[in-house]
């Protein structure tokens, strides 16, 4: 019987409104995401240019490298920039992203403290161009962006990497959100299946609802020891408005938006995902089904601000973390 304990009855999952892969693929991605719009989000360069057009803040672009010939000039491009991020335009799942925190004596320092030479950086860019990290191995373009100085208030909740906020936007309504905190186990990456902590966020306020690591509940950050209950995302309304605006920008009905908080510029759009994963249900302890059903009944053509307000009103929840005895209340 003990083997049985790890499995749930399908009926229990349905009661919880959990959405499985098959349903996500057919009912939401297949129905609301038109194939011809995919390139807008699969190519980060296109997303960025489009975002600029729509007035959505993104990290500043230092430059792009499109040819192997251009790799040789990358040194000139980088002079004067102290911290930067190199990423493949068509990468997926955070693959091929190189973060350089600072430059010391022509040595490039990664957040982990490892030093790289200019040659190492050039090789990385060359790998990106040859399609090592892109879907299907097709030739790619390398983007170089300024490093995000992420908000100090979130510093205590992360280990090495930048914490990012994933908001699922359905037909322009933000339906569910979570924050991904990198840990030592995840090697500074914000990938949940590699051991990052996922924190479900209250759509109404941006407060933490519950924390999950490796699919099990978790109450404090495993490396910094900081309590998750006190976590509140600042400038939450701006962030939701930004995320909801991506619907008009791309036309994709079922969208995963990845946002970061910059010290100076506030919430920024990092990237978009036309096939967002389902782990967000684990971090929120709630299925997406009921929220998506409610949104499906709403009419088209509602303004961004109204959609955000609607979501904040209907999807408000109480934190499960605050109930644990030794935590201070997160907000008034």
């Amino acid at each position: 019987m003990s083997w049985f304990k790890d499995w749930a009855w399908p009926g229990r999952l349905r009661d919880k409104g959990i959405i499985g892969m098959n349903r996500r693929n057919i009912r939401y991605i297949g129905r609301y995401n038109s194939r011809r719009l995919y390139p807008l989000v699969d190519d980060k360069l296109k997303t960025k240019l489009l975002a600029q057009q729509y007035g959505i803040t993104t990290p500043e672009l230092i430059g792009t490298v499109t040819t192997q010939f251009g790799v040789k000039h990358i040194g000139d491009m980088l002079t004067g920039h102290n911290g930067f991020v190199i990423k493949p335009a068509k990468g997926s799942g955070g693959k091929g992203i190189l973060v350089i925190e600072k430059v010391v004596d022509n040595q490039f320092v990664k957040p982990s403290g490892a030093h790289l030479t200019l040659e190492d950086v050039e090789r990385h860019v060359s790998n990106i161009l040859s399609g090592l990290y892109s879907l299907g191995g097709s030739p790619d373009v390398a983007l170089i962006e300024t490093l995000i100085n992420f908000d100090e208030s979130l510093m205590a909740y992360t280990y090495e990497g930048v914490p990012d906020i994933r908001v699922i936007v359905f037909k322009g309504y933000p339906v569910m959100a979570m924050m991904r905190l990198s840990t030592a186990a995840s090697d500074g990456k914000a990938n949940l299946h590699q051991g990052a902590v996922g924190v479900g966020l209250n759509i109404a306020t941006g407060e933490a609802l519950r924390g999950v690591q490796f699919d099990r509940p978790c109450f404090s950050h495993p490396d910094t020891g900081h309590d998750l209950a006190s976590l509140v995302v600042p400038q939450w309304d701006t962030l939701l408005n930004l995320a909801a605006g991506c619907y008009e920008m791309t036309g994709l009905g079922y969208l995963g938006t990845d946002m970061v908080l910059d010290r100076q510029h506030g919430p920024m759009l990092l990237e978009l995902n036309a096939r967002p994963g389902l782990a967000i249900q684990m971090t929120n302890g709630e299925g997406l089904r009921r929220r998506l059903d409610l949104i499906e009944r709403q009419p088209e053509g509602v303004s961004v601000a109204k959609r955000v307000a609607f979501a904040q009103y209907h999807f408000a929840r109480k934190s499960e973390l605050a109930e644990t005895p030794d935590t201070t209340t997160a907000s008034a």
């Binding site: 790890d6 499995w7 749930a8 009855w9 399908p10 229990r12 999952l13 919880k16 959990i18 499985g20 892969m21 098959n22 349903r23 057919i26 009912r27 129905r31 693959k95 090789r123 060359s126 790998n127 040859s130 399609g131 090592l132 191995g137 590699q194 519950r210 999950v212 699919d215 099990r216 509940p217 249900q281 684990m282 302890g285 709630e286 299925g287 499960e320």
Partner: protein
């Protein structure tokens, strides 16, 4: 968006598939299960030659009733040629003739042989001893030396033959045998020595029957007349083993040439074969019911294409297994349909050999690919290098296996090399990015899918159904369409999402 058209299409496919299958079952008495029937081998010989602008005469030896096989029906296809069947005490022959032919020519002969264990060849009297041409010096002394040695170690014709074969071909091969082999092929030499020693022997040609083989050629065997039992017994000219293997069909037993072409050059004959099970009555009926529209079956194709189709028609089964495992179970595989191709290779190699071969190739490939990643190459060049590596690994394994006497190892060449190279490349990247655990999950998932697909595709009943009932393909199509419409949970998701359902009592 209405789903009605979808269900109408699925329904039509199901109805059409079931109806054609039932029709074939009723009309042609093809049973649903492969048992309770006779095994029939369909063998097709293709003769190719270049005619030289003149009269052409082609003689092809034909098989007769023999131990284990009975001739059921035979057909020829040869436009513009006159055809005659001839039979004498040495065997049967087909003779094609034409007055004027030019360019590349193709003649077809196909025969259905019924496997019947109690079939016996017609009573044969031993022919008079073939007159042996005397050997020239120094071959004469070598020949008599071989005969004397084998004669001394043997008790009767059978043991004498075995000793002689071992002296000529086996480990005992001596100087005199090597000298004589410069003059004759091994089997011809053995027959000549036997005749010289006064033993009635002849060289015959046999076809090793293996399902779905194409472009095969005949192999040489030796028949020796056993005076005590008053019948011919067969010897393998390589190993000296006595007796006729179950899957050996004797094509020509008169000691004549299998193919003779007058007025043509570059002539050769090659064989394709296929086995299927038929009720004995249907085997006869097949004759009369050809060329009707409803008899739309693979069986109307030439044999070579039929053998190809037998495999092709199994691929949808493999695809169904993949769809089932991915949509209903949620198993991760490396490359969507890679497991089906691996399963196809398993069919050729048999499962244990295939599994060992696959694991060896991928493991060694990963090690070498790991080194290649230090060389910092462009993607296409690196994958090409991996392809060459895979070919090298396969060649080395094949040679090693052959040296160690493992003939099963020879079949690893059936693995699709380019697919393997991509698998290695993908697994290597996965290893670097997600660690060895993901490689094990995806590699294990692919292998599990491949094994299940293999078990489904290699099942005799499945092979029987897919090959004999084309309507099944429509049913498979309908099933896959239905699976593609499934929005429920995958089996593994019941485990993945389990923590959500018990959050009432956080630990």
């Amino acid at each position: 968006m209405s789903r009605l058209p979808f269900y109408v299409i699925v329904g039509l496919l199901l109805v059409a598939g079931i109806a054609t299958s039932v029709h074939r079952h009723l009309q042609f008495e093809i049973p649903w299960v492969p048992g309770e029937q006779r095994q029939v081998w369909e063998i097709e010989a293709v003769i190719n030659f270049n005619a030289q602008n003149g009269p052409v005469q082609v003689d092809l030896a034909l098989p007769s009733h023999q131990n284990g096989f009975r001739v059921l029906t035979e057909n020829t296809a040869s436009s513009g040629y006159g055809l005659a069947y001839k039979a004498d005490e040495l065997g049967r022959q087909a003779q094609w003739t034409t007055r004027d032919a030019a360019g590349s020519q193709q003649l077809y002969y196909s025969v259905q042989m019924l496997v019947s264990p109690d079939a016996r060849p017609p009573i044969q009297t031993p022919p008079g001893l073939a007159s042996t041409t005397p050997w020239e010096s120094p071959y004469d002394s070598a020949a008599s030396q071989l005969i004397d040695r084998a004669w001394a170690r043997s008790a009767n014709n059978a043991t004498f033959t075995r000793e002689l074969i071992l002296d000529v071909n086996g480990e005992r091969q001596g100087e005199s045998a090597r000298l004589l082999l410069t003059q004759e092929t091994p089997s011809a030499l053995i027959v000549r020595l036997l005749n010289q020693a006064g033993v009635q022997a002849r060289e015959v040609s046999g076809l090793v029957l293996e399902d779905g083989r194409r472009r095969q050629s005949l192999s040489s065997w030796i028949q020796v007349f056993d005076e005590s039992a008053n019948q011919w017994s067969l010897f393998n000219p390589i190993t000296g083993e006595q007796g006729q293997p179950d899957n050996l069909l004797l094509w020509e037993t008169g000691g004549r040439a299998v193919l003779e072409v007058q007025g043509g050059t570059n002539s050769r004959v090659s064989f394709s074969m296929l086995t299927h099970h038929q009720p004995a009555s249907a085997a006869v009926r097949n004759h009369y019911s050809e060329d009707t529209l409803l008899n739309f079956s693979i069986h109307s194709l030439p044999l070579e294409e039929q053998a190809l189709f037998q495999t092709i028609l199994l691929i949808p089964i493999g695809a169904l297994v993949v769809v089932f495992l991915r949509v209903l179970v949620g198993i991760k595989t490396s490359g969507t349909f890679m497991p089906v191709l691996i399963a196809l290779a398993f069919i050729q190699t048999t499962l244990p050999t295939g599994l060992i071969g696959f694991l060896l190739i991928v493991a060694v490939g990963l090690i070498i690919r790991n080194y290649l990643s230090y060389l910092n190459l462009l993607l296409v060049a690196r994958v090409s290098a991996v392809i060459i590596t895979v070919i090298a690994i396969i060649s080395i394994f094949t040679v090693l296996a052959y040296r160690m006497g493992l003939s099963a190892g020879l079949t690893v060449t059936f693995f699709p090399m380019i697919i393997l190279a991509w698998t290695i490349e993908r697994m290597s990247i996965l290893w670097e990015e997600e660690g060895p655990k993901q490689v094990l999950i995806q590699g294990g998932g692919s292998l599990l899918t491949a094994v299940l697909a293999y078990l489904a595709m290699n099942n005799p009943w499945v092979r029987h159904i897919t090959f004999n009932f084309l309507g099944v393909q429509l049913i498979l199509m309908a099933l896959i369409l239905l699976l593609g419409n499934y929005t429920g949970y995958r089996l593994l998701e019941l485990r993945r999402f389990k923590p959500i359902t018990d959050d009432e009592k956080p630990s």
